[in-house]
Symmetry: D2
Amino acid sequence: MVNIGIIGYGYWGPNLVRNFFLAQDCCVKAVADARYDRLAQLSKMFPTILGVTDAVDIINDPTIDAVVIATPVCTHFTLAHKALSARKHVLLEKPMTASVEEAEILINLAEQKGVLLMVDHTFLYTGAVQKMKQLVEERELGNIKYLDSTRINLGLFQSDINVLWDLAPHDISILNYIVDERPYSVNATGITHTKNSIENIAYLTVNYSSGFIAHFNCSWTSPVKVRMMLIGGDQKMILYNDLEPTEKVKVYDTGYTYANDEEKKQVLVDYRTGDIHVPKLATTEALLSMANDFITCIQEKKQPVSSCHLGLDVVRILEASSKSIKHSGTEIILETPSVPVIKKGYEALI
Amino acid sequence: MVNIGIIGYGYWGPNLVRNFFLAQDCCVKAVADARYDRLAQLSKMFPTILGVTDAVDIINDPTIDAVVIATPVCTHFTLAHKALSARKHVLLEKPMTASVEEAEILINLAEQKGVLLMVDHTFLYTGAVQKMKQLVEERELGNIKYLDSTRINLGLFQSDINVLWDLAPHDISILNYIVDERPYSVNATGITHTKNSIENIAYLTVNYSSGFIAHFNCSWTSPVKVRMMLIGGDQKMILYNDLEPTEKVKVYDTGYTYANDEEKKQVLVDYRTGDIHVPKLATTEALLSMANDFITCIQEKKQPVSSCHLGLDVVRILEASSKSIKHSGTEIILETPSVPVIKKGYEALI
Amino acid sequence: MVNIGIIGYGYWGPNLVRNFFLAQDCCVKAVADARYDRLAQLSKMFPTILGVTDAVDIINDPTIDAVVIATPVCTHFTLAHKALSARKHVLLEKPMTASVEEAEILINLAEQKGVLLMVDHTFLYTGAVQKMKQLVEERELGNIKYLDSTRINLGLFQSDINVLWDLAPHDISILNYIVDERPYSVNATGITHTKNSIENIAYLTVNYSSGFIAHFNCSWTSPVKVRMMLIGGDQKMILYNDLEPTEKVKVYDTGYTYANDEEKKQVLVDYRTGDIHVPKLATTEALLSMANDFITCIQEKKQPVSSCHLGLDVVRILEASSKSIKHSGTEIILETPSVPVIKKGYEALI
Amino acid sequence: MVNIGIIGYGYWGPNLVRNFFLAQDCCVKAVADARYDRLAQLSKMFPTILGVTDAVDIINDPTIDAVVIATPVCTHFTLAHKALSARKHVLLEKPMTASVEEAEILINLAEQKGVLLMVDHTFLYTGAVQKMKQLVEERELGNIKYLDSTRINLGLFQSDINVLWDLAPHDISILNYIVDERPYSVNATGITHTKNSIENIAYLTVNYSSGFIAHFNCSWTSPVKVRMMLIGGDQKMILYNDLEPTEKVKVYDTGYTYANDEEKKQVLVDYRTGDIHVPKLATTEALLSMANDFITCIQEKKQPVSSCHLGLDVVRILEASSKSIKHSGTEIILETPSVPVIKKGYEALI
């Protein structure tokens, strides 16, 4: 049995509580939030959970094994650092931290303390992403050539992070999960329509040495909600529409080949369209699977699907995107990671 | 009566012939195409039109008043230059030319010769674009803040121009038609999946001094066809989906306002959602309207809706986009036009 | 404070519990279900609610004021009769009873005992139906001419009632709520693909003296889920698509007029298409509104929106539809109600 | 070479002319229409075709081999009778005739004269219907259980035939083409909103002895256009949406099985959902294929896909539907055909 404390009971908090409530082998002991009205809501829906106003009460509680941090990004580092220092396992909401440096310090600290540090990239646990991962791994698509993502809606303007940091982590985590190649550089452009210089519309291109390309279109100011991703291979292509109730993933038997016509000095490209296949997806609740993965990995000393290393790679791209926007879209080369990627059990290093 | 010759009878040629056939006060006299099978098709469908293999036969024909050029872009300049020199009115398919320099030379030549030079940006004549132009002009949207366009499908790989030059002219012409402000700079990224270095996927951001931003997503390698444009104002927003049979333009009574909370040092943004309105659109055939505009402007010595100046502005953005792609997405500042924009009759300068 | 007992904790039970949990001025004291595993689920999610295996324990409990009955239709009459006899207010799930006779007995009993008898036609409380009711009442549609409903999906085959009794109550309740005219007759056809003679596909036409017509298409064996209703007036028409996340109700400025051309002995009909309007809908939770209506009507001795009289009228149409199916689609004239429709407070009769 | 005359140049006429223009081995010699403006339009678009005002000029022309009749239904019999009597091959627009009796007389006359009588049920030649026919024949769907069709839009009110005679022939022809079993009876209901007693909304159920059922929902007064058909088998089911540009036919790996639980005296039905498959369809132009079939069958003395016998079966159902509507929805048993169905060459009988 893993005893859990949750810090932050805002928009996402109730979902976390309910799913850890349903998860195996764990018990939600306490929730911290500085706002009294949020704690009142908590006690109405979950009368058995202790509500506290100070996160320190959770971090210092010796009966609590693991801490879930669902607060604004700017507070992630300090809270997670305290919790890891107190040898608590930590689950951080996405994005992991406000910088690569913060993420690397936390990863090193977790390894040093021998505890699990995980990031909640919930989408990785959906039936849709699991199916796409499988299709790419089994080389159904052939060589993958591009990923194109649009995630726009009329959304809450965040006051601490821009629209890429807010919305793109979902799609970048999917990119990093599905594509093995390490990205080479990024370009990003964007605009702010408020006075606080925080972009509410932004576009991100991620470049790869192999010729693969990924693009992300994010906006808080679209009148319509779009959650669409294309993944193109030279054999087949995927359309992933997360708003479709049942047909989220469509596989198009579509591809293109090219030949060099030496005589005419031109390139001939043929494309091909065929049948479309809509695979049935697993209908598991992604957030519950994520919660179960957290608990299981604590108990079995494993790295979860949504690991801190994947979380760091997402922050690396986000940090570079902010730098590119600041420099008018200039290409920013992604640095080699200073923290080695560990795929094994998290205990391996201690 | 305006006598017309059409050069190029490829994919678009038959549509041009049929619509000039139906247009008022004009007669399609001859069509030139070097391919015999194309001329055979012409004579089957339109037995009264003369087919010739050499464009010069049309340009030199003294009974022909106006020449329509529907050949690959790389040939536009030479053919148009010859036709204008022979004092023919000229309609060029989009994009106008392969460079800003070429376009400027042609514009100057047309003015010097006192003939009409027009570019076929057909979309400007659709009921949808006309309605959007009207909504923006009447300030229904308030201050417009962004335009976001996606034009992707499984398309023919062109061998002379990249995907932006092929697909984006439609959307850039709409941008230039609807937005009065002159763009400041562009950033573009893209990738080629063939050996000829011609991008088949590309992304373009057009930046404006006022904070307006436009973005274009173009691809020949999407398994699904998307023709979608968002135009956002602070009062209302438009979704333009060209694939919708009847509800192409939707107007969302949606907007956002922001306030500076001095005390808390943060920006508060409120957004608002309201009703949606789907205006009935004029059902005129756009290509026929374009043809009629060409004929009327020749006869009345006026500038058409789809003028050579608008065509030049499209090429200016395309040329800068190619430069940006070549320089890894670096911002390219758009030069001030050396040809003055003329909104009056084309005869004004001669 | 109204103390509530709920009989039946099947598919719909948890939703009822949760919403009465959230409703004002009421307390869910006990839930009855004969299945131990259902009671175990109850105590996990709602540890404060008493679970009992025998419904009689709830009906006989003097501290319970009102009983919610969410069991199979065939048990509605007996359970409701017992509860009303014990002077409990009763909320019955739809359809109200298995016959008109049963419904009339219950209505008379409730009036005699001076308690509230209500039927849970949840859809009447949705923002969509409220908006449609308003549009019809304000005569936005002009004279309404037809209602056409399709409610099909791959659904659970019920073992006690056919597909019309299972699915059509939603749409018939909307029909009866929106249309004032009393229906004249029904025709129904259908088919069973099992051995138990319970139709899994059925079609129902409801005829009105005025020329209004309503049609219902219901199926448990459709591979796709459709929840669509058209309501046509001679001025405007409504498309109600309940599966649309945001644009559930569309109002078409579309209509038709006809003229009698005496000379040519023919009827000329003109139709007109105009703009489409998508009104913003109230986003209240329908089931919670229904629960609140039940509590408020108990306290204020009023008739609810989803009254027992409306519930009876739904059963009247269903009963006639079964008779028509049994007689190969023959028209069945609807009898005049023997229970007077009361729109005032339920206490008025005692 | 087959010389063709076309009678009637209304809405559908130009499409017929253009496709017979493109068809192999035939020549459109003349078109008859009493309206001068229609003949003017003809001569503008097709200057080589002779326009006449009297159909008799076509029927009596000895150089014309075949007559296409695209006039109102009430004139089909007289015109076709004259043409067949003059030993012309005849193609009738759908529906074939205004009554079963008329159709049977024409079929007998055609056989007696040794000429081809064909009905233009164009939909049978679409890639979608061809694919569905193949799927049913190859027993991909298992035993087919139902067909459910909706064909509604804001349509022209016909002054001679009701909405079933106008719209349902498309869907009934598909039904008859795909389903081998002979229908047993029909029920139909409907309503007229004009003074001429011609239904503008109507519903038709076609019953089969085996338990198969077909239903048709037709309306001229829907604000939205729907062209949807479901065909359900116990192994797989088809959704055919004719308005989808590319994904017209979807095959759902969905089915249901039932077991009789003797002990509990109840029927247990299981349903199953699986993948969805969207087959690529042939992209042939249906009207051109129909025209080619007409010409080929004349030349090779074969019966076409869209034969007069299939056309008669459509009329048989339509005639019974009118009778059922007149008798308030009463079931009308379909009579056994008095004309034997011939699948072989049309010359077989002479």
